[in-house]
């Protein structure tokens, strides 16, 4: 039987993979994509939690978790837009999208 834990572990693995992507990819676009993967994992967890909530109130379970996913997706969209415009600006100005090349502000 597929339980909540299954979904959660899947979500956790995906989240961690996203994290690894953020830390290990050089291409800033890929870094952003990895972040999207993390958010996606969170969405999965939200939806899964929503599904497995104990139906306490008489009116059943409200789809709060799914609503949250809406917001997450919207926010992610905005974030991506902003991130990408900055990436483009970076490319225009410095001719690179390698995160290792943007390490001049330090110490």
């Amino acid at each position: 039987m597929i339980t909540l834990e299954h979904y959660l572990y899947l979500s956790g693995v995906i989240f961690t993979l996203g994290l690894c992507g953020v830390m290990m990819r050089r291409n800033v676009i890929l870094v952003f994509m990895s972040i999207e993967i993390m958010l996606n994992a969170a969405n999965l967890a939200l939806v899964a939690f929503n599904k497995f909530l104990v139906a306490n109130p008489p009116g059943g379970v409200s789809p709060d978790g799914q609503v949250m996913v809406f917001f997450t997706i919207a926010v992610a969209a905005a974030e991506v837009a902003v991130a990408l415009v900055i990436a483009v600006a970076l490319f225009r100005r410095l001719d690179t999208v390698n995160v290792d090349d943007v390490a001049n502000l330090r110490w």
């Binding site: 830390m23 390490a103 110490w107």
Partner: protein
């Protein structure tokens, strides 16, 4: 009512203050003020003399005010004029006044003339404060003030490095003495619960004899027997005396102090200040009285100083230094006399010594003034040029050597008499022999001086030509002093006056001693001692029969020891320059390297380095940042989940 006696202190103080506040620029006014002050003080002191002699022992005039009143103890400042201080007052103001006059001539033309008289007045104030002090703390205050006046006067020629060195040496040596002195004061003060001399004398018996054990430094301090307590306290107080009266081993400053102008040497370092120690011992005799150990110690220190200084005097060439060592020696006599219980004799010798030694110094000053050298090897034959000075000098020398019937005979033989019949606690053949040998040495070195400086051929023709007799301002005081030196003996005084003098200068409890009688044996022995010493000097320096250099060579190390003042200065120099200075450097090193360098700067450096290291983690690389972020998350979770 405010007592007139306050003026004794206020006059010199006022003079000093006025001179200090600007009058020093006007030499005449400054000198006048200073003289007026000292003679005014003399007059006031003298005014109570008849009353004092009439009333006999137990007479006193007192007055005091609260100087620093605290709940625990009210420090007072006052005066106590009893027989002892009465005599001392007269000596100090009288001799002091004469020397003031002498200084008018001696210091004539000196750019610091006004300043000099200011210092003299300051000194008079300080010294008189010791004399009239009615409590221990006041005496300590003036003890210090005398020290500083002496410092100022020794270092009067402040452009001369040697004078400054000497002044510092004098001050510091005295400070070392005062170190013990103050501890002694504290011990006695807490043991008796008072610093007032009158009350102390009343309480001393009960306090010490009825309490077998003492706690030094209150509860938790050391528990000592009253005998030990008294001995320790007595020795500590004696340290003050050693400092001021230049007793071995704190004598080193006095010969160097001759760097000061000669009137200063005469006033401070012969007649008055150095006698303060003796005076103090007489003042505090009641403390010593219960402790024979302390008295013995005093006697030995005095006897040794007397001998020791005399040996050194036999080899010196600087006229003032010879006199200085002679002073040391004589002070040793006085201290010894007190140790043997003879305060009255000591005070008497103090008085007579003040006269003739002051006169000797003034004479020496005149010589120096005339020939511009201190070295007796460069003098010679001066008696023709400076007859008045010569005669006063000679008579004073005779007085010093104890030739009857001059005053020195009476006082010194009194002491010698004491040493021949010492009290049981100090009974030792050494205590008899040492002073006698010292007396022989005294005649020897004084006549060595006389022969070398005054007789024979002038060794330095130019200087000899330059020599001349002194103006009356200088010779006058010398003549007065020599007259006193001649007359102050008992020969010319009525018996009852002598008796009064003895009784008033003898503290309660001290048993009186036999006066010196002018009988054949005494005179013979006195003359014998004199001729022994003077004759030896005559042989070597008068007639040249014995070559002193050969003797010196024959004596070898002994001569070297004497000539180098028993190497005491060298030892002290070593202690100061090596031990103390190195310890100071060690402290400095500890401060600079460890406290500042290691702890303070070290922690600052560590912090800055830590800052630099911390900032290095901010690598600028995004992946590091995300990693750190994740690491933070993992750590948080690991610690709290």
């Amino acid at each position: 009512m405010i007592e007139m006696q306050w003026l004794i202190l206020l006059l010199p103080l006022g003079a000093a203050v006025l001179i200090g506040c600007g009058l020093h620029r006007d030499h005449k006014k400054a000198a006048f003020l200073s003289l007026a002050a000292v003679w005014g003080a003399f007059a006031i002191s003298a005014s109570s003399l008849p009353e004092c002699f009439a009333a006999g022992p137990g007479w006193s005039i007192t007055g005091s005010f609260d100087w620093s009143p605290t709940q625990d103890h009210i420090f007072t400042y006052g005066f106590l004029i009893d027989g002892l201080s009465q005599i001392m007052l007269l000596v100090v103001t009288g001799v002091g006044g004469l020397i003031h006059i002498y200084a008018l001539g001696y210091m004539k033309g000196d750019p610091g003339f006004g300043r000099f008289f200011g210092f003299l007045s300051l000194f008079m104030f300080s010294m008189l404060g010791i004399v009239v002090a009615d409590n221990l703390f006041q005496i300590f205050i003036h003890w210090e003030l005398v020290g500083v006046s002496s410092f100022l006067l020794i270092g009067y020629y402040y452009t001369k490095p040697s004078a400054n060195e000497a002044a510092n040496k004098a001050f510091l040596t005295n400070r070392v003495g005062d170190f013990g002195f103050l501890i002694g004061i504290l011990m006695v003060f807490y043991a008796l619960g008072t610093a007032d001399f009158g009350l102390m004398a009343e309480r001393v018996d009960r306090a010490f004899l009825d309490t077998p054990m003492f706690e030094v430094g209150g509860a938790g301090g050391w528990l000592v027997s009253n005998e030990t307590f008294l001995w320790v306290a007595g020795i500590l107080l004696l340290m003050g005396v050693m400092g001021k009266s230049a007793q071995f081993p704190l004598h080193v400053w006095l010969p160097d102090a001759m760097e000061g102008p000669t009137p200063v040497s005469a006033l401070i370092h012969a007649a008055t200040m150095v006698a303060a120690g003796v005076f103090l011992l007489a003042r505090l005799f009641f403390i010593y009285l219960p402790s024979e150990t302390a008295l013995t110690t005093i006697a030995w220190i005095g006897a040794f100083t007397a001998f020791f200084a005399a040996t050194i005097a036999t080899t010196q060439f600087d006229i003032k230094r010879i006199l200085a060592f002679s002073t040391l020696s004589q002070l040793g006599y006085m201290v010894m006399a007190i140790g043997l219980g003879g305060t009255d004799v000591a005070m008497f010798h103090l008085t007579t010594h003040a006269f003739f030694k002051a006169c000797l110094f003034l004479g020496a000053g005149a010589v120096i003034h005339a020939v511009h050298t201190n070295d007796i090897r460069e003098m010679g034959g001066l008696w023709k040029k400076m007859p008045v000075t010569f005669w006063t000098f000679l008579i004073s020398t005779l007085a010093l050597c104890g030739v009857p019937p001059l005053s020195g005979f009476w006082s010194k033989d009194g002491i010698l008499h004491l040493t021949h019949h010492p009290p049981a606690y100090a009974d030792s053949w050494m205590i008899t022999v040492l002073p006698t040998v010292t007396a022989v040495l005294t005649s020897y070195y004084m006549f060595r001086l006389i022969f070398m400086a005054w007789f024979g051929q002038p060794r330095d023709a130019e200087k000899f030509e330059h020599a001349h007799e002194m103006p009356w301002t200088m010779t006058g005081p010398m003549m007065v002093l020599v007259a006193l030196a001649v007359l102050a003996g008992w020969a010319v005084l009525p018996a009852e006056t002598i008796e009064t003098f003895r009784s008033i200068t003898r503290p309660a409890g001290a048993s009186p001693f036999e006066p010196v009688h002018l009988d054949l044996s005494t005179v013979t022995s006195a003359l014998g001692i004199f001729f022994l010493g003077a004759g030896a000097a005559w042989l070597a320096f008068g007639r040249g029969i014995v070559n002193p250099d050969k003797v010196a060579r024959a004596l070898g190390p002994v001569h070297a020891l004497f000539y180098n003042r028993w190497y005491i200065d060298e030892i002290y120099d070593w202690i100061v320059a090596k031990v103390q200075q190195n310890f100071a450097r060690l402290c400095d090193l500890f401060d600079k390297k460890f406290l500042i360098g290691f702890l303070v700067n070290g922690s600052a450096w560590t912090t800055r380095a830590a800052g630099a290291v911390t900032a290095r983690y901010q690598t600028g690389s995004i992946r590091t940042y995300v990693f750190l972020f994740l690491a933070g998350v993992a750590a948080l979770l690991a610690l709290n989940l």
